[in-house]
Each structure stands twice: as C-alpha cells, then as structure tokens.
C-alpha cells in the first residue's frame, strides 16, 4: 500500500484517507488516484512531483476542492469535505484555499487591484475595505505602484506576484501553486519562489506541483507520484524545521 507522510493528528491541515479517483474513459476505467493516504501538517511546504499521468494534477484538483473523490475521505482543516456538494466546496475554496497557476490566470479586463479584490468580493466585503486590503497586499508583493494597471501591462513576474497577492486576499490556510515558475525565466522564478518561502515562514501551508527538482528541493518535503499512487516521500516538515 501507499506510504504515509509522517504527521501528528492535531496539526494536519490536509489529509487524504484511502483516496480514489476513477475516470470512465469510454469502456476503460482510469485510476487517477488509486488509494492514496497522505497528510500535510499546518505550516509545511510540500512539493508534489511526478511524470505526466502520474495523478499529480488530479491530486491537486482534489486537494484544491475543485474535484471530488470517487471513494475515500478528504479532511481539510479537520472537516470531511469528500461528501460536499459543489456549493459547499466553493465555500471551502473561498474560505480556506488560495491558488497560484502556471499561466497566472488573472482576469485581463480587471485592474491589478480588482484582480486582488476578487476573493473579497465573493466574501462580501464592502468596496472600501477590500480596496484597502488589496493595496496592502500589492505592497506586500512589491507592486504598490501597479494597482491601476491591467495585467497585460505587466511582466510575467509581476503578473505572478498579483496572482500571489490575490491568493493571499482571503487569508487562506493552504496555498496551492501549480507550476508557479513554469512560465518565468529562472531569475524571476527564483524571486517568486522566495516570495512563497517567505509566506511559508509567515505560517502559510504551501503545496506546490512542479517537475523542476531545483524548486522541489527548496520545499520541506517532496511527494513523488507514479500511476496514481505515492511512489516515495523525501524529507518532512519536522526534518526541515
């Protein structure tokens, strides 16, 4: 069976128990996750690695509450979210999670400030409060002077900073980063990684999907996936601490 990441119970922010995700492709069944047991501690920094088709994207979607398990359980901050409907999953994403993508995924017609405000808008914050928070976050990622710009007027690194600021707006428990440096040159990628490490030091749990070993080795631990199962685990939060 799958190996389990070492963890103590009360600190587990994310925990999968015998998680299976099966897709029906025509007549064939594809086991994207074939019974995964894993848990990540609050405040840890994990890298999920693996070749394409290994199930790492599915894993990310499940952990990010974008998709649901076929069987098994997923505990997010102690709540079993594996049986929740679309509406409740949206609510969990809104309150607990933040996302950073390889292609930044900013909304092009909105200004930097409006992009950062987006989670606050769905949280129902009023306009003045969210504007203040957005400016504060822009400053935190070093883009205080760019709040009025549109994403198309920014460089890749700047766009990813905006995405990070947006991911931080709802003060999430876990930040998921899907190949966050994939579209950036190595110097800019390094800066983004530094920013993520800084956020981790401030207490955010960070789970990053990457195929670059250089980046993965900066995490506390690395989860190697293969054929829908955890192949091996390197390092741990305790070790890095």
């Amino acid at each position: 069976m799958a190996k389990q990441a070492p963890a103590s119970d009360n600190q587990e922010i994310v925990k999968l128990v015998n998680a299976r995700k099966i897709y029906q492709m025509g007549t064939e069944q594809v086991k994207a996750l074939a019974g995964v047991n894993v848990s990540f501690k609050k405040g840890s920094f994990w890298a999920i690695m693996g070749p394409s088709g290994s199930g790492k994207s599915t894993m990310m979607n499940i952990l990010g509450c974008l998709d649901r398990l076929t069987s098994g359980s997923y505990y997010l901050a102690g709540h079993d979210v594996s049986q929740l409907d679309d509406n409740s999953l949206s609510e969990y994403r809104l309150r607990y999670l933040g996302f950073i993508f390889q292609s930044f995924n900013l909304i092009p017609q909105l200004t930097v400030q409006r992009n950062i405000e987006l989670p606050l808008y769905y949280l129902g914050w009023d306009a003045r409060q969210s504007a203040a928070r957005a400016k504060e976050l822009a400053e935190q990622v070093g883009l205080a002077d760019r709040v009025g710009h549109r994403p198309t007027e920014l460089s890749g690194g700047q766009m990813q900073r905006v995405a990070i600021a947006r991911a931080l707006a709802n003060d999430p428990q876990v930040i998921f980063a899907d190949e966050p440096t994939g579209n950036l040159d190595s110097a800019t990628g390094e800066q983004i990684l530094e920013l993520l490490i800084k956020l981790n030091r401030l207490g955010k749990t960070i789970i990053i999907v990457t195929h670059e070993p250089d980046i993965a080795k900066r995490a506390h631990g690395r989860l190697h996936m293969l054929d829908g199962l955890i192949d091996r685990i390197e390092g741990s939060y305790n070790e890095a601490d």
Binding site: S90, N105, I107, L118, Y121, D126
Partner: protein, 422 residues
C-alpha cells in the same frame, strides 16, 4: 449590504460592456429598435384614442344625426328634365319624431343654406343654419359673447343671428359685435351672440357645426328663404324643395342610441316612398373606428414584438459567444470560490444591463418617432407614464429571458476544464 452588492454587480456589468463598446452597441441595436417601435406605437395609439374621445365629445355621444339625401332615382331623373326635385326630411317628420319616441330627449331641426352676408363692404359666404334653441344643447359650444337663440326669438319670429367666432371676426372685424345688423341674403339680422365652433371630421361623420355658421330661428329661415332652393349647374338651373336638411336627435342614454336609431329608420321608411335620408349614429361609427384601431394596434404590436424577439435572440447569441470567450474567467472565479449562482447572477446582470440600456436608448428613439409623426402628419401622439414604463419593463424582461440560458450555461462550466481553456 445586499443593495450595495447589486449596485456593484450592475456597475461591474456596465464596465464589462464598456470594454467592448461597439459590440455592446450592436448587440443592443435590436432592443433599441424593438423598444423604439413599442414606444412609438403606444404613443400613436394613445394619441389616436384621445382624439377619438375628443371627437365623441364634439359629436355628442348620445346623438343621432339624420340628414336629407337625394335618392338614387331622383338623381337620375333630375338631370334629364328641368323640374323640381322634392326630397328629404319634412317638418312632419320632425313633429312625429319629437313626439313618438320616449327615449328621445330633444330634437333639433336644421335648415341649411349658403348666403352671402355683408356688413358695409365686407362680404363673406356664411352657412345659415335655421334651427331651434335645442341646437345649442345638442351641439354644446362655448358662448363667447351675448346669448344663444331662445324660445322667445322663435315665437316672435325675431330676425336675430348667432355667429361663430370665425365668421364674426371676418364680418364684424373691429365693430362692437353684439347688436350689429348683418345682411344675409335678402334679410337683415341682428347679431345677438357669438359662439365658438369645432369644425372638422370625425371618422366619416361631419361634425354638425362649421366655422362659418350663422344660427337663426328656423321659422325665420323658412319665412325669409323658403323651402325651395335653386342651384346653378353647368346645364342650367336646378331647383329642389327640401324642408329640413338635418335633424339632430339626442337620446337619454348611450346604450339606447342604436335601438332608437333603428326605430327612427323604421318610422321614416313608412312615410318616405324613396330613401331620401341617411341615419347616422356617431357612437356606432366611432365604435367601429375604435375596433379598427385596436386591430391596427395588434398588428403593430406583433411587429414590435417580433423585432423585440429578434433583438433578444441577438443578445442571447452574443452572450453565448461571450461566455465561451470568457470561459477562463469563469474558471478563475469558480476556483477562487464563486458559487454557480454567483456566476449566473454576473452574466444575467450583464445581459439585463445591456437590454435595459438598449431599452433606454430605444425610449429616446421611440420618443422621437411620434414627435416626427406629429410634426409631419399632424396626427396626435401622446407619451404616457405607461408608454414609458411598459417598454422599459419589456426590455428588462427580455434581458432576463434571453440572458438566463447563457448565464446558466456559464455556470455549468467545469472550473478544472475552464482553467486549462485557452
């Protein structure tokens, strides 16, 4: 809280539409013209029915008008021989009519002739109306000066005349009006009063009074001008004997008007060998005109409805394209935590904003059309609160109706797929 939310949503919708100004404008165009035509139609219809009511008032809704008319046979003989044709309503008809109908309140006999009238060197052809004081009850017009005809004028065979404002101005000019003696034909008449006139057509019924009327007691008219009239035609002289040109009958209740008219028709049939009279009921004709106008409105309404439908389909089409184009945005919003319902709201509000803006512009276009119609054709048009609110509500409804499908479609987008969408 809730309200500011909606306000922000509307504002976001407007912002999004402003991003594609030309596209939004073109999308709106269908609704603009749809709403414009509804507004124009309502204001023309409203104006027409106001005009119809006005005409009923002028004609008197309880009135029946019986007019003398040369019968077809008479017409045929009179051209071949030089003889006197005798036709039309008689004094006897008037007496019988006034006495035998319970529901008839009053009757005014009318004798008409055109005569040159003069005061000093001013001449104008007036229509001399020989009638009784009842005329002024049946064709109520504002008395501008002096008084109308009285029973006593009738009894005394007094040569007095009531002029209309228009005729009086023409002939009396600057002289003090009341008490002047005006020559009409061979008689001298003292002007005792001036009334306002309401000339014009109502459907195909002539309104009883004209601008150039001079009202004199009927007995006086008979004594001065007689019953025989000579007409000069190209083939010589034509003489005809007509006792009464018209009778105006007032019935006590509008719903009895048609029954009484039928009774009068039957009565006249018994005493007239030829059909030398016409009974017209303004109310019935106006009812017909109203029914036709209603049919007209239904036709116009369906055309406007179709253009609104086409406009709505245009909006739906563009919104569906917009949803596809913005799949990634939808995915981002969903990943961040937007619920399906919120995505539906977002797109629905955008569509409603679009169609309502179209509606507002359409209101402007639609207000311009009746204005131009009035300016060029003189038709009465009227903008009412209903005429403004109904098209606005229709345009909002179109936004909801045709926005719902694209919005629901947008909310069905799978965030995982959407985020990968290029």
């Amino acid at each position: 809280m809730r309200q500011t939310r909606i306000g922000r949503n509307i504002w976001l919708g407007i912002e999004n539409l402003l991003l594609h100004k030309l596209r939004s404008f073109l999308t709106m165009l269908g609704v603009v013209f749809g709403v414009g035509s509804v507004v124009a139609m309502l204001s023309v219809g409203e104006g027409a029915s106001k005009e119809a009511l006005e005409q009923i008032r002028k004609l008197g809704s309880n009135n029946i008008i019986i007019s003398s008319m040369k019968s077809a046979e008479e017409e045929a003989t009179s051209t071949t021989h030089s003889h006197m044709s005798i036709y039309g309503l008689t004094y006897e008809d008037y007496r019988r009519l006034a006495q035998s109908f319970e529901d008839v309140q009053q009757t005014a006999p009318v004798k008409l002739m055109r005569r040159d009238s003069r005061l000093y060197d001013r001449v104008i052809e007036l229509r001399v109306v020989g009638t009784t004081p009842e005329w002024f009850e049946l064709v109520p017009r504002e008395v501008l000066a002096g008084r109308v005809l009285l029973k006593s004028d009738q009894e005394k065979y007094a040569p007095v005349a009531v002029l209309t404002e228009f005729g009086a101005r023409k002939i009396l000019a600057t002289e003090s009006t009341i008490g002047q003696t005006v020559r009409m034909g061979n008689g001298q008449f003292e002007v005792i009063g001036i009334v306002r006139s309401e000339s014009g057509q109502a459907g195909n019924i002539q309104i009883p009074d004209q601008d150039v009327d001079a009202y004199i007691p009927i007995e006086v008219a008979r004594r001065y001008f007689g019953d025989i009239f000579t007409k000069r035609t190209s083939s010589g002289e034509e003489r005809e004997k007509i006792e009464l040109h018209q009778m105006i009958v007032q019935v006590d209740e509008p719903k009895k008007v048609e029954a009484v008219a039928a009774g009068i028709e039957r009565m006249l049939e018994q005493f007239h060998k030829k059909k030398d009279y016409v009974v017209s009921v303004p109310l019935a004709l106006l009812k017909q005109a109203e029914a036709m106008k209603r049919r007209f409105n239904i036709v116009l309404g369906s055309i406007a409805g179709i253009s609104l439908l086409v406009g709505g389909i245009g909006i739906m089409n563009i919104m569906l394209a917009s949803v596809t184009e913005r799949t990634r945005e939808i995915g981002i919003r969903r990943a961040i935590g937007a619920k399906r319902r919120q995505i539906v709201y977002q797109f629905l509000i955008e569509t409603v904003v679009l169609s309502t803006m179209g509606g507002i512009i359409g209101l402007g276009v639609g207000a311009l059309i009746p204005f131009l119609i009035t300016y060029f054709s003189g038709m009465v048009t009227m903008m009412t609160v209903k005429g403004i609110l109904v098209p606005l509500l229709i345009s909002m409804t179109i936004g909801i109706l045709f926005g719902l499908y694209p919005a629901v479609h947008a909310a069905q987008v799978d965030p995982i797929v959407a985020l990968r969408h290029e």
